[in-house]
C-alpha cells in the first residue's frame, strides 16, 4: 500500500495567453519506508509537485491519496490541509525555516503541541530525539546560533517527530556544503526508514543521488521516467 499517490497531477497557473502549465499529468507513488528523489533542472516543476502533494498549493486536476484517504479528487480538497500536514506529513525546507523565537527543542516540540500533545510531554520527546541526533546540547539555544547543518538536522527532527506517513523535503541540501549535505541526506534516509515514512526529496544536486530507492526525473512539468 503506497503512503502517497499522485495521479495525473496537472497544475496550471494563469489564464488565457498568460497560462503556464507547470505540471502535466504527473504520476507519483511512494511506499512507506521508501525514499525517492525528484530531480530536474530549475523550473521543471519539482517544487510545484511537492506543493501539490502537500496541498499547500493544490493541483488544478488529478487525484492525490495519502494512505487510504483521497485528499484531492480532481476538483476540490477533501480534508483540512493543515490538519493533514500536521498529523501525517513532515516538511523540510531549503532554508530550514526554523521559527527564530523558539529554541531548538521548542521548534521540534511545536509540531507535537499542534497535534494536542501536552507541552511537557512534547518537550521531553523532542529533547530525546535531539539527543539521538547529537543535538541534545543545543536544545536550549535559538536557531540563529546554530550552523546551517545543525539547523537542517533540527528541521529534519521537526519533520519526523510526529511519525508522519510522508516526509516532503524541498532542496534540503541546497544551502549546505557536500559533506554536511550528505550527512543530512543520510539522516533523512535513516529516519525515513526508522519511522517508516515515504520520503520524497526534491533535489537538482547529482552529488546527493546515491541512496535513493528511486529517482523521478522531471522536465517541463512532466515526469519522464515513470
Amino acid at each position: 500500500m503506497p503512503a502517497v499517490v499522485g495521479e495525473r497531477i496537472t497544475k496550471i497557473f494563469g489564464q488565457g495567453d498568460s497560462q503556464v502549465i507547470a505540471l502535466k499529468d504527473a504520476q507519483v507513488s511512494v511506499d512507506r519506508g521508501e525514499i525517492v528523489a525528484l530531480m530536474g533542472p530549475s523550473g521543471s516543476g519539482k517544487t510545484t509537485l511537492l506543493r501539490a502533494l502537500s496541498l499547500i498549493d493544490p493541483p488544478t486536476t488529478g487525484h492525490i491519496a495519502i494512505g487510504n484517504d483521497v485528499v484531492f479528487d480532481g476538483e476540490r480538497v477533501l480534508i483540512d490541509d493543515r490538519q493533514l500536514r500536521r498529523e501525517r506529513m513532515g516538511i523540510i525546507f531549503q532554508a530550514y525555516n526554523l521559527i527564530p523565537f523558539l529554541t531548538t527543542v521548542e521548534n521540534v516540540a511545536l509540531v507535537l503541541t499542534l497535534n494536542g500533545v501536552q507541552p511537557r510531554e512534547a518537550l521531553k520527546r523532542a529533547k530525546d530525539l535531539l539527543g539521538q541526533l547529537d543535538l541534545g546540547h543545543r536544545a536550549s539555544i535559538y536557531p540563529a546560533t546554530l550552523s546551517g547543518g545543525e539547523q537542517q538536522r533540527v528541521a529534519v527532527a521537526r519533520a519526523v517527530i510526529n511519525d508522519p506517513a510522508v516526509i516532503l523535503a524541498d532542496e534540503p541540501t541546497a544551502a549546505l556544503d557536500t559533506e554536511r549535505g550528505k550527512a543530512v541526506m543520510h539522516l533523512l534516509r535513516q529516519l525515513g526508514r526508522v519511522h517508516k515514512a515515504a520520503v520524497i526529496v526534491v533535489t537538482h544536486d547529482d552529488r546527493m543521488i546515491e541512496g535513493f530507492d528511486r529517482v523521478y526525473h522531471m522536465i517541463d512539468g512532466r515526469i519522464t521516467n515513470h
Binding site: 516543476g45 498529523e87 506529513m89 516538511i91 525555516n97 523565537f101 509540531v111 512534547a122 524541498d170 532542496e171
Partner: protein, 398 residues
Amino acid sequence: MNLAIRDVKYHFGRFVLTGIGVGLLLATVMAMGGIYRGMVEDALSIVRAPGADLWVVQKDTNGPFAETSRIPDDLYRVVRAVPGVREASPIAFQSVQLEYQSASIRAQIIGYRPGNVGGPQAVVAGRPLAASRYEMVLDLKAGIPIGARLPMGRMTFVVVGLTEGIVSSSGDSTAYVSLQDAQELQFLKGNEAVRNERARLEADLKVNPALAGIPVSALSSILQNTNLANAILVRLEPWAEPNEVAQRIERWNHYRAMTTAEQEDVLAKNVIERARQQILLFRIILLAVSTVIIALIIYTMTMEKTRDIATLKIIGAPNLKIGGLILQESLALGLLGYGFGALLINLTYESFPRRVAILAFDQSLLFAIVTVICVLASIVGIRRALAIDPTTAMGGGA
C-alpha cells in the same frame, strides 16, 4: 506552547521599548483625563469649601463665579429671617496678584465674616482667621508659609493658617481674609482716584443747580460705599427644603437664590465647559492616535514574521493559533504600555502645576478602552497574517 510569550521573550528589549513608547502615549491620555478631572475638582472646591446650602446672588445673574454679582452685605440679616435659614453671611471674591519674595502669585481672595459661614471648613496648618482685620489663610498651593507678611493695596496681611485643595476655577490658590478687608481691596479706591473723583463731583455740582448746596464730602462717601458683597451664603436647618427656601427668597427679596448644586452646575457647565470640551477632544484624538500607532506596530510585527507565519501554516498550525499569537502580543503590548503609563502618571501627577486628579474609575475605563484598541489593532495584523501565502516559506522556483 504559547508562541506569543516565546516571541516576546525573544524580542524582549525591543518589545519593552515599544511598550514604553505606547506607555508614554497612554500616560499623556491619563494626564489629560486627570487634568480634566482636576479642573472640575478645582472649580467645585471653591463652591464646596464653605459648606453652604444656598447662594443668594444678584438677580438675573449666575453668581460670582460666572459674572459680576453685587448685593448689599447687610442683606444677610433679611435672609436670616427667612424660615428654614439657620445661618447666612456675606462673601466677596476677587482675583489678586500676591507679591512674595519677588515672586508674583495669582490668588483668589475670599472675604467672609470670621466665625460665620464662608470660611474654609478646616485648616491643615496654623489657625483660621481670628482677628477682624489683616489676617489671611492661604492655600498650600501658593507656597507661602505661615507668618509671611504680604502687602496688598493699602494693607499688609499676615498669613496665619493654611488650607489644602481649595483653589479657584483657574487653579489659583485661595486667600481667605475678613469681609471688610476683601471689600476694601475690591471696592475702596486709591487716594489719587478719590481726589480725582471729588474734583469731578465738584465740577458737576457747579453746573447742576439742583445739587447746589450738597457738600462734596457727603456725596463722595455715598459713592464710595464699600458695603457690598458678591453673594450671601446660607446654611439651612436640617428640616428645610433648599428649593422651597430658594423660591421664597427669590419671590420676596428679589434676588436669585441658587442651591450649591446649581452653583456647581454653573461652574462645571458654563465656566469650564470650553476647556473641558477641548481636553475631551484632545483625549479622543490621543486615543485615536494610540489606536493607529498600536495597529501600525502590530502590523509591522506581523510583517516581520511573514516567513515564520507561512512556515507555521505549512507545518499545519491552525489559523486560531496564528491569530492568537498576534492578538496576545497586541494585548501584551497594550498591557505593558498601560502599566508603564499608569505607573508614570501615578508617580508624577503631583508635580504638575495644576491639579491632576487620577481616579480609579478613569483608569479602569482607560484600561477597558486600551483592551478594545488592542483587539481592534490586532485585527489588522490578523487579517494580514491570514492572507500570507504559505508558499512564501518555500524556497526555489516551480
